[in-house]
């Protein structure tokens, strides 16, 4: 199998590399030292399996796996962790493949034999246990993923089929529902309409326009977004507070 090793610690990567070298049936196609570079290398090398450390600076292993799961043909993921009580519980509960450091050769072989892709429900359950929100939203560009930091997102807007992310760098289509996004990012974003979810920090004002309809005006966007009657009380309350 073609394997990608992801760990922020060089010695930990070296150890997995050495274990895999004992067995001719596996080939290490690349090593990555962060979640971000993992996503790039997956697009480039198309590995069958990713050995993914959980505790990494920047994008952690669980978020990396969630982005990987959005690919058309995602690699199987085996998580590797030293000691994260919450994660181990969650893995067991969700039947997701994981290995504990220091990794034993035979366990690694066994895990590779059974390597499977974690499903989206499994991954969101893992994320939920740790209370970790994603810090990036991924959009697909062919095989590759483009990452949009959540801090730079101004609002999400839904039309018939897709959701558009409007961010500092432009606008991109994503394949997620507003409802899920609202649940995940409810602390920093507020639903203003059935079709729009807005970053609280970007709301400059909530006012009535000439026709008497309530609109939310975002910084740098003079046109404003419609606020529906249903969400109006909640929007007023949260904007005032923020």
């Amino acid at each position: 199998m073609r394997v990608l090793i992801v760990d922020d610690e060089a010695l930990a990567r070296g150890r997995l590399q050495a274990l895999l070298a004992r067995d001719n049936s596996h080939e290490v196609v690349a090593e990555a030292d962060s979640g971000e570079s993992c996503l790039k290398l997956v697009a480039k090398h198309r590995p069958d399996v990713v050995l993914l450390d959980i505790r990494m600076p920047g994008m952690d292993g669980i978020e990396t796996a969630r982005h990987l799961a959005a690919l058309d043909d995602p690699p199987a993921v085996i998580f590797v962790t030293a000691y994260d009580a919450f994660a181990i519980e969650a893995f067991d509960a969700q039947a997701v493949g994981y290995l504990l450091k220091p990794v034993r050769g035979e366990r690694l072989a066994e895990a590779l034999r059974r390597a499977a892709r974690p499903t989206r429900p499994q991954l969101s359950a893992l994320g939920g246990k740790g209370g970790a929100r994603r810090r990036w939203i991924a959009t697909r560009l062919g095989d590759a993923l483009r990452l949009i930091p959540v801090d730079t997102i101004q609002y999400f807007q839904a039309d018939q089929k897709y959701v558009t992310v409007h961010h500092e760098g432009g606008a991109d289509l994503i394949d997620e529902s507003l409802k899920e996004l609202a649940a995940e990012f409810g602390d920093e974003f507020v639903r203003i309409h059935r079709n729009a979810l807005v970053a609280l920090k970007c709301v400059a004002a909530v006012e009535r326009d000439a026709q008497g309809r309530l609109r939310a005006y975002l910084e740098g966007r003079p046109d404003g977004l419609a606020v529906s009657r249903r969400y109006a009380p909640q929007v007023r309350k949260r904007v005032k507070k923020g």
């Binding site: 610690e9 010695l11 930990a12 050495a18 505790r55 600076p57 030293a82 919450f86 450091k101």
Partner: protein
Amino acid sequence: MGSSEQSEPRRSDGLFLPDFCSARVVLAVVLLAELVAILLTLARYEAGEQFWDNLARISLFLLWCTLLSAGLLCAARSSFAARGPAATSLAALGIVLASVAVVSAGAWWMGRAWQGLPALLAGADTGRLPVFMSTNMLIAAIVTGLLLRYFWVAAQWRREVREEARSRIRALQARIRPHFLFNSMNTIAALTRTDPKRAEEAVEDLSDLFRASLSDATSTVTLKEELELSRIYQRIEEHRLGDRLAVEWRIASLPLRARIPALSVQPLLENAIYHGIEPLQGGGTIVIEGSYDAARGVIELTIENPLAEPLAGGAARREGNHMALDNLRQRFALAWGGRASVQAGPSGQHYRVVLRFPAEVSA
């Protein structure tokens, strides 16, 4: 906290009584006897009687009873150590009752022998011996019973406080260890093939660190030893984090013979690495700075790390950080009372912990 109590907590079951061999306890018991004497005198007081004479006689009687009991309890203390609380209580009650009986009999005979002397106790000169004795013994039994109950409750309370402190320390040690332990083991596993010499060093360092962490949580070490331990810890983490970890030591002015509770600096360095360095992709620098105010005899030690966003599982670790600090505060308070302090908080782009404590050379 005596070492015997620490090593064998079960043994202290029978030792819930205070040590009647110590002068402080004897003084307390004498004062208590005087209070009971006043109580008895007041209870029997009728207008026209001589209050002070009665008080003097009852006091004299009670002091004999008390001192005899205390003496016997002191002598019997060593045999209490091996017994349970019920046996100890019964034995103590028996000793007190026997003392009261002996002193009562003595007082009664004295009263008969010297008819001319003022009666030692109301009733001693007129009443019959069995009545006199049983009244006194009943009073003694009630007072002793109350006291035994009080000693038992007080001892239980003290033990609970001690147990709680100990279990918190244990919980803290358990909380810090796993992540570090397994990562270090992984490091050693990786080094064993590629660099056996460094692997050997790492095993030695890890052993030193664990030996220190198994030592008594209330013991003190010299500043030199504690800083040495922190450097050992730093070495292990350097294998793992490589260039991402830099520690700047500015401790030239510290009096290295001063004593400090064991494991007070190392856990702070551990926190600084865990919260400040690991979450940063490029790593960072931890600064450990010490200064010594010779005029006031105060040492100040500052540990500073860059502020970073927590990694996965960060919420639970944050709690761990507070536990480490609370624990350190408690141990500093235990060692120095109000003369030491532990301050922690963000300062600009850094997180800073400041320890202040008196420089004391002896333990």
